[in-house]
């Protein structure tokens, strides 16, 4: 079989194995399930106690994407470092498929685990907060959900390949959860944030993902947001491929592939 024809298979198998592995990790289940439910409950309880009324579904969707972001930031941020720690980096680089495809399978698989959080927060909103969870456009909602996961997985690829230059990548992961939740408007409307945060928000896929999901669930015009999510995905893919190539080339040249 010609080499490029194998690439989808490599990607699919990498994605599937990563999904299986992460779905059994206690830490990932905590990150994708327990943590978003806690944040969803806080937001919904504040909504009920407060004077401004945004729909419960608004918070449920935001908290769901918070969970996807957490799985990405912790699962993908250290993806290369983790493979190195496990002694798998050299075999993976030596394998006769592009290394970036292997990493992409891992980051997409990790982001997919985040779908747990989306499902969990929607069920939570329906069962505990008696929200009427009904999507205005179920088909486009599904498309938006898949696209959001893909774009966050590709953002994870960019993060994973840039964090490898930083020895304490887990510290960056610890730091990156809250600011991205905040500036991308997952629970707080962008209009309440200072204007200088807007360009940062527009560069990050969760902004477009959550807007697309809200428009398809609550009613609105989701197509521009879906389009921007797609553009962001393509940009992350290009950047990720370039960064992974740089990192791989540098590690081969300096013979530092297995250095911690």
């Amino acid at each position: 079989m010609a080499e490029p024809l194998r690439w989808p298979r490599v990607l699919a198998i990498g994605w599937f194995y990563q999904l299986k592995m992460q779905a059994q990790s206690g830490f990932m289940i905590m990150t994708a399930l327990v943590q978003p439910l806690i944040f969803a409950t806080i937001a919904m309880a504040d909504q009920q106690a407060g004077t401004r009324s945004l729909p419960i579904l608004y918070y449920a969707l935001g908290a769901g994407i918070m969970g996807i972001w957490s799985t990405v930031v912790f699962g993908c941020g250290g993806v290369i470092s983790w493979q190195r720690h496990q002694g798998m980096l050299e075999p993976l680089v030596m394998a006769p498929v592009p290394f970036v495809l292997v990493l992409m399978g891992i980051t997409l698989g990790t982001a997919t685990v985040g779908l747990y959080s989306m499902a969990a927060t929607l069920v939570w909103a329906e069962v505990v907060f008696r929200a009427h969870v009904q999507m205005a456009d179920p088909l486009l909602f599904s498309v938006s959900a898949v696209l959001t996961v893909v774009s966050l997985g590709l953002l994870g690829l960019v993060m994973g390949s840039s964090f490898v230059l930083y020895r304490n990548s887990n510290a960056i992961s610890n730091m990156l959860e809250y600011p991205v939740w905040l500036v991308t408007g997952l629970l707080v409307p962008l209009s309440l944030l200072p204007g200088w945060t807007r360009p940062i928000a527009y560069a990050l896929a969760p902004t477009w993902g959550v807007q697309a999901l809200r428009a398809t669930a609550l009613g609105g015009q989701p197509l521009p947001d879906i389009g921007f999510c797609l553009v962001a995905s393509v940009a992350y893919l290009g950047l990720g491929v370039w960064l992974v190539g740089k990192v791989e080339h540098r590690a081969r040249r300096t013979a530092t592939l297995n250095f911690q």
């Binding site: 806080i42 309880a45 106690a49 407060g50 959860e177 629970l187």
Partner: protein
């Protein structure tokens, strides 16, 4: 000096040496985030973003005031050190296979155990002070100046009670394989249960009842009274309750630690992972 008195003085000196020096060494060895490259993003930046996130969430929902969220979150972030730091300080001995040598020494167990808490408590206190300071600078948080000493005392007591709670989690880590999972859940659960982000009155009765036995609940209530300038007298009962909760958790943790030590000796399974 009689031989007995000299032995007692030596024993006391040994206790304090193990408590202070042993505690400091274990902190340096086992607290992952001591390196500035870890400390700044994890113990300063992340808590700061947490405060900002919840202040804006409160504004978005139109609930509470900025001070409500600043005080709640600034005090809660000391539990990052208390919960994670103590889990590391105790259960990582097992992870790094150094538990058996420590338990083979004749050192006073209480000194070994409590000594680990002091640096963690100080770290938690620092984190909360940083949270208040930055909130004053960027969010305009202004507590009543006359209440500052009592507010600092409240923070100290709350950091202590979180350390006691963390000791209990760390002791559980002597037996459970993945104690950090429990620590993670505990850290996020207190955000909801202890009235940090949602007024306690909004929570169901059972959750409110549970909150009375957890660290932070009374400390945060006292902190909010003091920040609002309601006077130290109003906050004293909450501060004392926070102290009591912390002492109970520390005592429970010590009993748990000794229980796991005894059962580990019996089964020869201190370091089994």
């Amino acid at each position: 000096m009689s031989a007995l008195a000299a032995t007692e003085a030596g024993s006391r000196g040994h206790f304090w040496r193990v408590f202070l020096i042993g505690g400091l060494i274990s902190y340096r060895a086992l607290f992952y985030w001591i390196n500035p490259w870890q400390y700044v993003p994890t113990m300063l930046a992340a808590p700061l973003f947490q405060i900002l996130f919840f202040v804006y969430l409160g504004r978005a929902a139109g609930v509470g005031s900025t001070a409500f969220f600043v005080v709640g979150n600034s005090i809660q972030i000391c539990s990052m050190s208390g919960i994670y730091g103590m889990t590391m300080a105790i259960s990582n001995e097992r992870q790094f296979q150094t538990l058996s040598p420590i338990l083979a020494t004749p050192s006073n167990r209480l000194a070994v155990f409590l000594g680990r808490g002091l640096p963690v408590l100080i770290t938690g206190f620092q984190t909360t002070c940083f949270g208040f300071l930055v909130s004053a600078l960027i969010l305009g948080f202004r507590p009543a100046p006359a209440e500052l000493p009592m507010l600092l005392l409240t923070v100290l007591v709350t950091a202590g009670s979180c350390t006691g709670f963390g000791m209990a989690l760390g002791s559980v880590g002597l037996r459970v394989r993945d104690v950090f999972l429990i620590s993670n859940i505990a850290y996020f659960a207190v955000l909801l249960v202890c009235g940090v982000e949602v007024p306690l009155s909004q929570l169901p009765g059972a959750v409110r009842g549970l909150a009375q036995f957890l660290p932070l609940t009374h400390g945060i209530a006292a902190g909010r009274l003091l920040a609002a300038g309601r006077g130290g007298g109003a906050a004293v009962s909450d501060i004392l309750l926070e102290l009591l909760v912390g002492c109970c958790w520390a005592a429970f943790a010590y009993l748990l630690f000794r229980h796991f030590e005894r059962s580990g000796r019996r089964t020869g399974a201190f370091d089994r992972l």
